[in-house]
């Protein structure tokens, strides 16, 4: 099947570049980009295959191929690949964004000694990520999921000579691994409950009716349906990968990686894999209805993360960290959309976000590149004059992220999330949290724009615009960020139709409905207020942050990321270390000690028996021997070798013999 080539092409490219030498920069980049281009073309073809499903009536077109992997007794464990509208859209986005970022990387990483290795890891990442997207088996998803994590680990720590980068890589891997243990257990539970890990398998898959009915009917404990238990465990994995609270700590640190990596992995694709996983497993999450325990949890976690991360972003000074917290916050929006039951809203925002956030990161990379590796926005300013292309494209990305009305994709996708959150029957709280986060987003992005591009340059480098190999991808992504708004408006909800298999029509009257107008009105208001406040405070930024002047202690807490890292260091990290020391202590003192004690006791016992031997048994034996020896000496003195002596004994003996014989005979 054609779609199996989509991940295999970049995988092969990764394998070949792994064997290349450091100096072979051009062949490595050419090979990787060619493979990625092929994969993108195939994704496009696959995407066209799924088109037309919107003409149907609620029937989603799915094609899949399953193949056996290993045998277990008389059964086989199968893996599979799946093509459906959900995956096809995601795959196209992933491959397209990857391709652009690979091209951009040629410029960005040109001078790096490990250029070849960089492209090898990028290609490995792309292969694994496409595997996650196109998998038809939770096991294959997990396999690719971990490989994506490996690629992320290798790329965050790409500049491994920097201790911070090495630490950030390890932190990312371990934090997500905590979540992945939940994912693993959820997967095992799913396997145990449904007997399969294939998503779709002609009615026998775990996302199909029979299995879902069985899982939702059974109760695990405390009234929790098995399906919800499984969903919650899988959500742990999703939350880890997507940087949801309380697993968000690794994502800002991951910015230690090269900027193309941040754009590709930690903004556009991998971090969205958690959202995609929940979307893929949505039938399990919603097996007990659209307000199941699992979905409610997802909604709350998402809403909280959206607000929490947006707050922290307000007080950051590193250009990439602001964007990282913004990513965490936007992923929270997507999770919220899933939690309140709208897969489409989440996926539209996911894809729109991928484009504009990749654009923002690449723009940030262009800025960092242009002012010689400076990342602190306090030392920037006035870059609009030096980097016009970067400025314009960055502004488009920023407006899309803030949700500036009508011409930017972020407006429509965020609006849709607010809309579905507003309709959630459980609580209105998440809606208000998300609305506040939307306001903060506009605010912190304006703050950043002002500090980076407005005013006059405060640094000491010589700012310059980046080469075309970097600015062309910026332009393409900016175009995508704008164009994505067309299929996401309520007037032509093409995405919705594509995902659910319903026909869509162009109908502008839907824009006039009261529900839409009220939410859109609110979000326009919020964006205006956010941008206005940001502009008002930061238009003349010089040295000190005006917010810090208003409320110093609060600003400090936010700048210190609300002390979550410190909290973890004091609790989880320390507990692990202490448990390790405790185990080692028990091992050395108690277990080995017991063995030594047993050894010592047996030595003591042997010493005692030695004493016994020596003074008890041996004493008797020795004295016997001594007696014998003495006797021997006496006898040997008789053996003098003198014939006279022998004759004397002989005669005495003969006389004695005669006496005895005589006595016996009488």
């Amino acid at each position: 099947m054609m779609i199996s080539l989509i991940p295999i092409l970049p995988l092969l490219a990764a394998g070949v570049t792994a064997l290349m030498r450091r100096g072979q920069k051009t062949p490595a980049a050419t090979l990787v980009i060619a493979a990625q281009a092929g994969s993108t073309a195939l994704c496009l073809l696959a995407f066209f295959q799924t088109l037309g499903s919107e003409a149907g009536h609620g029937e989603v077109a799915r094609t899949y191929v399953n193949f056996p992997w290993l045998s277990l007794g008389s059964e086989t464990l199968s893996l599979g690949l799946l093509l459906d509208p959900l995956g096809a859209g995601m795959a196209l986005m992933v491959s397209f964004v990857s391709l652009l970022i690979f091209i951009y990387s040629i410029g960005y990483m040109k001078a790096d000694a490990n250029f070849t290795r960089f492209f090898c890891f990028l290609s490995l990442f792309s292969a694994a990520m496409l595997g996650v997207v196109l998998s038809n088996s939770l096991l294959l998803t997990f396999v690719c999921w971990e490989l994506v994590g490996l690629a992320s680990y290798l790329l965050i720590g790409f500049w491994f000579h920097k201790p911070e980068a090495a630490a950030a890589a390890r932190k990312a891997f371990l934090t997500t691994r905590v979540g992945d243990m939940g994912f693993l257990l959820g997967m095992l539970w799913l396997y145990s409950a449904s007997g399969t890990l294939l998503f779709y398998d002609h009615g026998n898959g775990c996302l199909e009716k029979a299995a879902l009915a069985a899982m939702s009917a059974k109760t695990a404990c405390a009234g929790l349906a098995v399906s919800n238990g499984i969903a919650l465990l899988i959500f742990c994995g999703a939350a880890g990968k997507s940087g949801q609270f309380p697993f968000h700590v690794w994502l800002p640190d991951a910015m230690e990686g090269p900027t193309p990596v941040s754009a590709l992995i930690h903004a556009a694709t991998m971090v969205a894999a958690g959202v995609y996983l929940v979307a893929r497993m949505f039938p399990v999450f919603s097996a007990t209805g659209n307000v199941s325990v699992a979905l409610t949890t997802v909604a709350w976690v998402g809403a909280f993360t959206a607000l929490f991360a947006a707050l922290i972003a307000v007080a950051q000074t590193d250009i990439k960290r602001i964007l990282a917290y913004s990513t965490v916050s936007q992923l929270g929006f997507m999770m919220l959309a899933l939690g309140v039951g709208s897969v489409t809203a989440a996926m539209v925002h996911l894809i729109a976000h991928a484009f504009f956030k990749a654009l923002l990161f690449l723009g940030a990379g262009s800025v960092i590149h242009g002012i010689h590796e400076e990342q602190d926005i306090r030392n920037m300013g006035g870059l609009r004059k030096f980097m016009p292309v970067t400025f314009v494209t960055y502004a488009i990305g920023m407006m899309a992220l803030c949700g500036v009305p009508f011409f930017f994709s972020g407006f429509w996708s965020k609006d849709e999330i607010l809309h579905v959150a507003h309709q959630w029957p459980v609580s209105q709280m998440p809606f208000f949290m998300a609305a506040t986060a939307a306001f903060l987003t506009a605010f912190y992005m304006t703050r950043q724009m002002c500090q980076v591009f407005a005013g006059s340059y405060r640094g000491h480098a010589h700012p310059h615009e980046s080469p075309a190999v970097m600015t062309v991808p910026l332009g393409l992504l900016a175009g995508a960020a704008v164009l994505m708004s067309i299929p996401s408006t309520p007037a032509w909800p093409w995405f919705h139709g594509h995902h659910t298999g319903h026909a869509v029509t162009l109908d502008f009257t839907r824009l006039m409905e009261r529900e839409f107008l009220s939410i859109a009105g609110l979000s326009v208001l919020l964006v205006t207020a956010g941008i206005g406040a940001g502009y008002f405070l930061y238009r003349h930024f010089a040295k000190d942050d005006p917010l810090a002047r208003f409320w110093a202690s609060g600003f400090r807490a936010l700048a210190n990321r609300l002390y979550v890292d410190e909290f973890y260091r004091a609790t989880v990290v320390r507990a692990l270390g202490l448990l390790g020391c405790l185990a080692a202590w028990v091992d050395r003192r108690i277990l080995s000690g017991t063995v030594r004690l047993v050894g010592a006791l047996s030595l003591l016992a042997s010493a005692l028996s030695d004493l016994m031997d020596r003074f008890g048994i041996n004493l008797g034996f020795d004295s016997l021997c001594g007696g014998l020896r003495d006797g021997g000496q006496v006898f040997s003195s008789w053996e003098s070798g003198r014939v006279q002596g022998y004759l004397r004994f002989l005669s005495v003996g003969a006389v004695l013999l005669l006496i005895i014989l005589g006595w016996l005979l009488t």
């Binding site: 464990l77 490989l147 243990m181 539970w189 145990s192 063995v595």
Partner: protein
């Protein structure tokens, strides 16, 4: 079968008797190659459809006691023989060209004993080889001749010998009750053996006592926490190539003993005692992982990590024993997982110790994780290949370690869900200490003293390349191995 045991034995004699030092390595390698070739041909000739024990050879030895010379192999033994055939030359080559004649002879003798153990089907026959392996192992562990290595070797010897004696006592009891040492026949008795023991000794707890004796012997060998204290010293004091044999092969004799002796002979006892046994397995997994976290010596870390990985094997074995009927897929998954894990751990742990050996050779014996830093800059191939082995040990999908652990966990979860859930802690902690090693040894700034740290030589790359390649093959296509022992 007999030939398989004879090849390394004759090789050992030849090496020991030949006067030339230089030829020792070549002769050793040739006999190991012979073993490898023969094992592969046996594995290919094994009738997988029929399954069961094949290639049987049985001759009376001491008929009055029921002691036979009895060899044969099923899928499990063949898999282990393959492991032996691969790891032994790997270990010998790792030691480099400077290896002495006597060392080669001892390694061959050890290979003989291990092959004998994995093919014997009569207890006494099995036991002779099982104990025979101790002698060359003892001498090899104390090869460096330091006081510490002698103490470690002595502890290893006494500990294992005591375990072996306990086992011998147990089997004498069985012989008295059942009248045979034939493992196949004893296995067929299975459930009724317990009753026979009770009748023979006039006490219902006789069976339990015999079970405990055999368990103790095997628990020391694997080892199971808290019977593991001989291991870290032995693994860290022995030369790395010897540690490869200890962890790659000798620890498997314990797991094999569980599967060949304890499980078939005492199914009921295993089921009754399943909960405490599972707790022991969990203790082994979690305790050793945490202990590894606190170590600073690379060899000790990998030693505890080894205990941790074998803990998963025990988990799978005990979970299957806990639920003797039903859930055929889960049981098959756990059993196949255990066997895969045995092979994978042998391969991966041996490779890791090979790398430690290379590291020691370059650092003049230093192997503390704090002694290094940033080595990846100086030795990228070294760091890359050792990184692959570490990620295999960590259970990264796509490499061999994952498949066995996944199957064990999936089977165990279905059978005894809580034990799988708790064992996941071990998976996490393993990742912590392995990434610690990578961070401290390979990343960060390169210190001045290691700026000339040499990368792997081509000979070293060639030595580890087959192992690394196997890690990928078994990670991507585990069926090639599973097909050997999967029972329909």
């Amino acid at each position: 079968m007999t030939l398989l045991t004879l090849i390394p034995f004759v090789g050992a004699l030849l090496v020991a008797l030949l006067p030339w030092h230089r030829a020792a390595r070549a002769v050793g390698l040739a006999s190991m190659a012979g073993v490898l070739g023969l094992t592969i041909s046996l594995a290919l000739g094994y009738d997988r459809v029929a399954g069961g024990i094949q290639f049987r050879e049985q001759h009376a030895w001491i008929p009055s006691l029921g002691v036979d010379y009895f060899v044969g192999a099923d899928g499990m033994s063949l898999m282990l023989l393959l492991l032996v055939a691969i790891i032994t030359p790997f270990a010998m080559l790792t030691a480099g060209p400077g290896i002495s004649k006597l060392q080669v002879a001892l390694i061959l003798l050890l290979e003989t004993a291990i092959i004998g153990t994995f093919t014997a089907l009569n207890f006494i026959h099995w036991f002779v080889f099982y104990e025979l392996s101790l002698v060359p192992a003892f001498l090899l562990i104390r090869w460096s001749g330091t006081k510490a290595s002698t103490a470690a070797a002595l502890r290893f010897f006494i500990y294992t010998l005591l375990g072996g004696l306990a086992m011998l006592v147990g089997f004498l009891g069985i012989q008295i009750a059942a009248g045979t040492f034939d493992l196949i026949r004893l296995g067929e008795m299975g459930a009724s053996l317990d009753g026979k023991l009770a009748a023979a000794f006039g006490s219902p707890s006789a069976g339990l006592l015999v079970f405990c004796c055999i368990f103790l012997g095997l628990a020391v060998k694997v080892p199971v926490v808290p019977f593991h204290t001989w291991l870290p010293d032995a693994y860290s004091e022995a030369p790395s190539s010897v540690t490869m044999l200890l962890t790659g092969l000798m620890s498997k004799m314990g797991v094999y003993g569980f599967l060949r002796l304890l499980v078939p002979l005492f199914p009921q006892r295993m089921q009754e005692l399943a909960t405490p046994l599972l707790w022991l397995a969990l203790a082994t997994i979690v305790f050793s992982a945490f202990t590894a976290l606190a170590q600073t010596d690379l060899k000790r870390i990998f030693a505890y990590s080894s205990v941790n990985h074998l803990g998963y094997c025990l988990l799978g074995i005990f979970a299957v024993a806990a639920v003797p009927a039903g859930a055929p897929v889960a049981r098959a998954a756990a059993t196949n997982g255990v066997l895969l894990q045995v092979f994978n751990h042998g391969l991966t742990a041996a490779t890791l110790f090979a790398f430690v050996g290379f590291l020691e050779r370059r650092s003049g014996g230093l192997r503390g994780i704090a002694d290094f830093g940033g080595l990846r800059a100086a030795a990228p191939v070294f760091a890359g290949l050792m990184g692959i082995a570490m990620f295999s040990s960590l259970g990264l999908p796509g490499l061999n370690g994952f498949v066995g652990e996944f199957l064990i966990f999936s089977g165990t979860f279905k059978l005894v869900w809580w034990s799988a859930a708790l064992a996941a802690i071990g998976l996490f902690v393993t990742a912590v200490f392995l990434l610690n090693i990578i961070q401290k040894v390979f990343t960060g700034p390169l210190p001045e003293r290691w700026s000339k740290f040499p990368d792997l030589t081509s000979a070293e790359i060639l030595t580890v390349a087959p192992a690394i390649a196997l890690m990928f093959v078994l990670g991507i296509c585990p069926q090639v191995l599973i097909a050997l022992f999967n029972t329909k």
